[in-house]
């Protein structure tokens, strides 16, 4: 009896328990409700190449941007104890920079003005600049992260429009759309490879550098880590700049997917998804210890949820209502007050079963 209790306790205490259970619930719901969700088929794309098609593929494909944002958001959350709510707007900035470099001031583009790699690098730089701006406000001026990022949240889409001078360019170059869709001959969408590469890189970085240790110690106790010789300012700054790189890549995938950009509507509401991914990953939104694997699973869970809702004919504008309920449930479960209450409750239950042993002791 005690063995089973301790095993259950061990499993429920594992940091990947919450994210995997959530993903499992979404999958289970689809398994019962709509088995079509799991069908994979080969279809011929409009360009005449065989491509894989199905809801699972679409979740993996469309979740890529979210995975990158979740990676950045996890680090930012861990180090600064708050979230970056400007990611949707900064994607608009980076996307507009990329389009501006590729298209100049034309609206219908049949030949790219620059190499794609140049545009991507400049887009990432724009993202890093935005991240550095947020980072300075958070680390030097000690403003709460959500308030500091509020500034770019308000301004980002306007800055994007300004970069493009109000244009909404369309790119008619096939090679440009390969990155966000399919490379001819490869049946798997390209963004999936990006996500894979991104996840591998971040895991290598976390394994072979001290980034995770530094971010966590600054998030848990800023003063103590300063006394131990860390510079909390530069650690926080670093996480925001990494967030900027993630934003740049997400922006590139987004504009390549659409071959055009509308800074007012691009990645609208994605900040909510990114925060939700971090919360679903079992990470405390108040900073400190984090689990990157949890966040990545969380990101795919969110995407699976969005896809599930849209297959049930929920209008895309209505989806946030469901996600809001889920995030509230998660934070309620995570809240210290609730945990304490259930801890007592659980303690009373186990005390009854192990009461005899205690008496002997």
């Amino acid at each position: 009896m005690a063995d089973i209790v301790s095993i259950i306790r061990k499993i429920t205490k594992h940091h990947l328990f919450v994210p995997i259970i959530c993903l499992f619930l979404v999958i289970l719901f689809n398994l019962i409700d709509n088995p079509q969700f799991f069908r994979l088929e080969m279809r011929t794309s409009s360009a005449g190449y065989p491509t894989l098609f199905g809801s699972i593929i679409s979740v993996l494909n469309n979740g890529t941007e979210l995975v990158f944002l979740a990676i950045g958001m996890t680090l930012v959350t861990a180090a600064s104890g708050g979230q970056d709510i400007s990611v949707g707007s900064t994607i608009a900035i980076a996307g507009c920079v990329i389009m501006r470099v590729l298209c100049g001031t034309e609206t219908q583009v049949y030949e790219l003005h620059n190499l794609v790699i140049v545009a991507v690098v400049l887009g990432c730089l724009a993202g890093m600049l935005a991240g550095a701006f947020n980072g300075i406000l958070v680390s030097v001026f000690r403003i709460q992260p959500m308030v500091a990022t509020l500034i770019l949240f308000t301004a980002g889409r306007s800055i994007g429009s300004m970069v493009l001078g109000g244009n909404k360019p369309m790119v008619h170059v096939d090679a440009f759309s390969y990155w966000g869709n399919f490379i001819p001959g490869i049946p798997i969408p390209t963004p999936i490879f990006f996500a894979l590469a991104g996840v591998i890189v971040i895991f290598l970085v976390l394994k072979f550098t001290n980034l995770a240790l530094y971010a966590q110690s600054v998030g848990i106790n800023e003063n103590a880590s300063r006394l131990n010789g860390l510079n909390p300012r530069s650690v926080k700054m670093m996480t925001y700049i990494i967030m900027g790189v993630c934003v740049g890549i997400a922006a590139f995938l987004q504009v390549s997917r659409q071959s055009s950009i509308n800074p007012i509507t691009i990645t609208k509401n994605i900040e909510m998804d990114a925060i939700l991914a971090v919360a679903l990953g079992g990470n405390a939104l108040s900073g400190g210890k984090f689990s990157m694997a949890g966040s990545v699973i969380g990101a795919y869970t969110i995407q699976a949820l969005s896809t599930t809702l849209s297959t049930h004919n929920v209008p895309s504008e209505g989806v946030p209502a469901y996600k809001a309920i889920i995030i509230i449930l998660i934070v309620i479960v995570q809240a210290p007050v609730v945990k304490e209450f259930f801890g007592k409750f659980w303690g009373n239950l186990t005390k009854k079963s192990s009461g005899t042993i205690r008496k002997v002791a």
């Binding site: 406000l137 000690r142 308000t154 429009s161 946030p320 996600k323 809001a324 007050v337």
Partner: protein, 341 residues
Amino acid sequence: MSRNGLRKREPPTDTAFLLTITICMFMAMYILAVIFLGDKGFSKPQTFFNLLNEYAALIVLSCGLSVVMISGGIDISVGGVTALICMTCVVYLEDAGGGFLGAVLISLGIGLAFGVVHGFLVAYLKIQPFIVTLAGMFFARGATALVNLDQVQAKNAAFTAVSRVRILIPGVGSFTKRGVFVPAYIEIGVIVALLIVILLFLMLKYTKFGRGLYAVGGNAQSALMLGINVSRTKFFAYVLTGLLAGVGGMLYFLHTGSGSVVQASGLEMDAIASSIIGGTLLSGGVGNIIGTLFGVLIRGTIYTIVTAIGAQGPWWTGITISALLCFFIVLQSVITSRKKR
């Protein structure tokens, strides 16, 4: 020399300091606009009253935000709640054939419901207010889409009658080119908004609850030791903000007379920006309703100036507001860090 002369002058409080900056900024901005852009209508009194007409709802929403920010929290759901109220009211008036009074009750009810839920989660479960109200904002936006997806115009007779009421200001007005005197007017929403400003000003200054808000926002620990019920004060701060969001949403609906999914987008940021520009400290404990009123007017003036200049592209409003917001947030951070030393 008298003793009074020897006494060192007290330095102005943060509230007074920030309020002075705000009022001076508004005066300077408006006077410059009258001087340089007088021919574009700024010299007419109606331009000023139009600011009030246009931003009556924003005044009420910003007042709500000031209350919750003074208590040390934040509420970013007010824009979403406004959209939800507009959509629900317009559907109620047009499709369900309801009356005007019912619409008012619905909007107050929606606002109150959001306020109670936010207050409970923040004050009693101690969840970060930003997360709670962010979820509230997305819930409200999503719910708006679930109520109705299309844009609807309100044609209800009683509603349009109320929304078209114009209250003339005696003795103030301007002459047209033919020399006909056109008196300046305000809409009914302005009366409600100004009434709320006065009531809140008195409440914050003279009631136990109002003083408690400042105490809780300034230092929750000391407030607790002084015997203030911190959780209950925070809870009622959110309930009050929710109720004001209900009133603000109703005024917004009264002004626009329509409901759509994208309506009032970014309104929460406008309200927060106005409140911050008006001298409310984000860390809590400092703030003033009069400052908030001027914050809204500054925001409105910037918008009017940008439109009057016809600056290249509509994005300049967003950028100017954000720059101003950035300036004030950094200023506040400097003030608070100076105080801690």
